[in-house]
């Protein structure tokens, strides 16, 4: 015999639900992010989250508008000779970034470059930040923002 299942009310309204981890403090609350049309519409605490067991603070539950804020950077920027930022392609921006590091290295040596990784980005970003500094310059000139 087939069991009848109720139609999922979320999907009926075109809402997707994705399990992830809150991006604020270090507690690591599991959350379900509800999204429709590429926009976050709500965040629910996960009852089976190992750290939070269904609890969530006001930041975790409500402070997500910034993701879609018009202030978000949407293009690479390079400072021109006029001292202002100009929108450029990724190609131009990456070239400018790379050339700058190579120029400084040629002028002052490999110990003249320093990397600061983030306590906010995923571990994949942190791993690559330290790998970049160690492989590019052979130094341990890398830290993260935990000291201040």
């Amino acid at each position: 015999m087939q069991t009848k299942t109720l139609a999922d009310p979320l999907s009926r309204h075109g809402i997707r639900k994705v399990r992830t981890i809150c991006g604020y403090c270090g507690v690591g609350c599991a959350v379900d992010v509800l999204a429709r049309d590429n926009r976050i519409v709500a965040i629910h605490p996960a009852w089976d989250g190992p750290a939070n067991q269904g609890a969530l603070c006001i930041k975790g539950q409500f402070a997500y508008d910034y993701v879609h804020h018009p202030d978000r950077l949407t293009h690479p920027l390079v400072r021109g000779r006029d001292g202002r930022f100009h929108r450029v392609s990724w190609d131009e921006a990456l070239d400018a970034a790379a050339e700058g590091f190579l120029r400084v290295q040629a002028k002052y040596g490999r110990h003249a470059i320093y990397g600061v990784a983030s306590g906010r980005t995923p571990s994949e970003a942190n791993y690559l930040m330290q790998k970049f500094i160690r492989v590019a310059f052979g130094t341990n000139h890398i830290d993260n923002c935990s000291r201040a």
């Binding site: 994705v18 403090c25 270090g26 690591g28 992010v33 999204a35 590429n38 190992p50 609890a55 603070c57 006001i58 930041k59 409500f62 402070a63 910034y66 993701v67 202030d71 978000r72 950077l73 949407t74 293009h75 690479p76 920027l77 400072r79 921006a93 990456l94 400018a96 970034a97 790379a98 700058g100 002028k107 002052y108 320093y114 990397g115 983030s118 306590g119 906010r120 995923p122 571990s123 994949e124 970003a125 942190n126 791993y127 690559l128 930040m129 330290q130 790998k131 970049f132 160690r134 590019a136 052979g138 130094t139 341990n140 890398i142 830290d143 993260n144 923002c145 935990s146 000291r147 201040a148």
Partner: protein, 540 residues
């Protein structure tokens, strides 16, 4: 944290020091509340009468920066009353006999003179902590953001070693990490002294291993910390790559930070907004935000958890892993041709002994807490069970010393800084989230009502706060959360940059800045000095 978050519900005595947990880690605090409902006793040491202090069975209102004195005196009482765990010390520690001698002079009366906490309360705290079957310590930046941050932590470790409150359920020494992945940043090797997985760079075996993995010579010397790097900027350091940090607003002594970043010939910033720091850059690379990338965060209990992409990033914003890989390839480097975060994480696991037992697929369950030393290992929710990784637990002979800056006639008030529940860090995110502004619309200085009256100020007035490094205008708020002679503000608002005032010193070992203490002067200001801009802000 030595113990899992679940253990927060299990101690008999909970000792919280330098942690504003209900505001900075609210969900962790709910677990602590469960312990209290179950009958656990709570001791809170904090200069401010915060919510946690109101919940405490015993509140120790210590003077800012006097933690080590309190902790030495607690050790003294535990020894005097013979509340130590001799069996544990003999089996698992070394140097304990000397430590029992060492703490003799540090009487509660001695500590009362420094901490301004009555000796009887110090005794009671020590007796409660020392007599409990399960006693757990929780702390945050109120312990570490001092010139004596290391000695504060060592003093806490002494208490736990003395009483055997390590490696068991409901015990431990538990620092609450402040950022979603600050633990993961250290795990992944973004440190000047460690390769991924906390493998010291000064060990030639580690150097050889990574030289082979990365295909190039790497220095055997530790790198400078970020604090040192900012001091070296414009002198020996001329280029920086900063990913997702608003250094200008979050770091102490803002004038120094700005001068350092401006002296660079090349500054590349990866971020999601044009922060005050990105505004100083030569190249700004737009990153995908939280909910726009796949990857992992490691939380305060060392739990590795998967984060998932929910929505597409705006415009041409890209994930950090892609940006850094592309940059590396532009510089002609090999080993950066990643097509997704999956091989990046798998490489991190492969090269880190603490992550070696997992990979992208296994981490999906979110049930692993490191160390996970080999495939099939269940992970380690609780550290130091049965033994310490480095052999025997060592007591440290700590000393009390004054903060880098003490109050005097010119700067007679203590300033301490921290976070608020409704704002996060420099507000780049919470400041752009509807509703949060409604809860906390501006920064204010928390002052004891009697201090306000003594300084000729009323609640809501504008005041000028000055330290040896700078000054700013800020409105005052009357509250008994602040003790007399100590004021508080958060560093969240870039238009009230509290960090123009801070920066008196840093811990000589960790280089963690003494953001919790500096000496200031608070003065009433005439309305004309406040000016029209400030008034508009006040009305907004």
């Amino acid at each position: 944290m030595s113990n899992p978050l679940a253990d927060m519900e299990k101690p008999d005595v909970i000792f919280c020091i330098g942690t504003n947990m209900t505001e900075a880690h609210p969900v962790a605090a709910t677990r602590l509340k469960k312990a209290l409902a179950r009958g656990a006793r709570l001791i809170v040491a904090d200069p401010r009468r915060i919510r946690l202090a109101e919940m405490a069975h015993l509140y120790l209102p210590i003077r800012v920066g006097s933690d080590t004195a309190l902790l030495l005196a607690m050790a003294h009482v535990i020894v005097r009353e013979e509340l130590y765990d001799l069996e544990f010390m003999e089996a698992r520690t070394e140097g304990w006999e000397a430590f029992l001698e060492y703490v003799q002079p540090f009487t509660p009366e001695w500590a009362a003179g420094i901490t301004q906490v009555p000796a009887a309360d110090i005794e009671r705290a020590a007796i409660w902590y020392g007599s409990a079957d399960r006693a757990a310590i929780y702390y945050t930046l109120g312990i570490t953001e001092h010139i004596c941050g290391v000695e504060n932590v060592q003093s806490l470790a002494n208490l736990a070693l003395l009483t055997g409150n390590v490696g068991r359920e409901g015990t431990g020494i538990n620092p609450m990490r402040g950022q979603n992945n600050i633990q993961g940043a250290g795990d992944a090797g973004a440190l000047p002294n460690n390769y991924p997985g906390f493998q010291p760079v000064t060990d030639p075996a580690n150097q050889a291993k990574f030289e082979q993995l990365y295909g190039r010579k790497i220095d055997l010397e530790k790198g400078p910390t970020k604090v040192q790097a900012l001091e070296m900027a414009g002198d020996t350091i001329f280029a920086m790559l900063i990913d997702g940090e608003n250094t200008v607003v979050s770091d102490p002594h803002q004038e120094h930070t700005v001068r350092a970043l401006k002296s660079l010939e090349h500054l590349v910033v990866i971020d999601i907004f044009l922060t005050e720091t990105a505004e100083l850059a030569h190249v700004v690379l737009p990153a995908a935000a939280w909910a726009e990338v796949d990857g992992h965060f490691t939380n305060t209990e060392r739990r590795i958890q998967r984060i998932r992409k929910v929505v597409d990033p705006p415009g041409q914003a890209r994930p950090d892993w892609w940006i850094i890989s592309q940059l590396a390839q532009r510089m002609g480097l090999e080993g950066f041709d990643y097509d997704s975060p999956v091989p990046v994480f798998n490489e991190l696991c492969r090269v880190s002994p603490i992550y070696q037992g997992i990979d992208w697929e296994l981490a999906d369950s979110g049930r692993y807490q490191w160390p996970i030393p080999y495939r099939g290992h269940p992970g380690t929710p609780r550290l130091h069970e049965g033994g310490f990784i480095n052999g025997r637990g060592k007591f440290t002979f700590t000393h009390y010393r004054d903060p880098a800056e003490v109050v005097d006639d010119q700067y007679p008030v203590w300033l301490t800084t921290g976070r608020r529940l409704e704002t996060y860090h420099t507000r780049t995110q919470t400041g752009r989230s509807l509703g949060m502004d409604y809860l906390v619309a501006e920064e204010f200085l928390e002052v004891h009502p009697e201090d306000l009256a003594a300084w000729g100020l009323e609640d809501g007035d504008w005041a000028r706060v000055s330290s040896r490094r700078g000054s700013l205008l800020i409105r005052v708020k009357a509250t008994r959360r602040s003790p007399r002679g100590t004021v508080f503000a958060s560093f969240a608002f870039s238009d009230r940059p509290i960090n123009v005032l801070t920066g008196s010193g840093y811990d000589p070992i960790t280089h963690t800045a003494e953001l919790k203490v500096c000496a200031v002067r608070v003065e009433a200001v005439a309305p004309e000095e406040v000016g029209p801009i400030q008034e508009t802000l006040a009305l907004a």
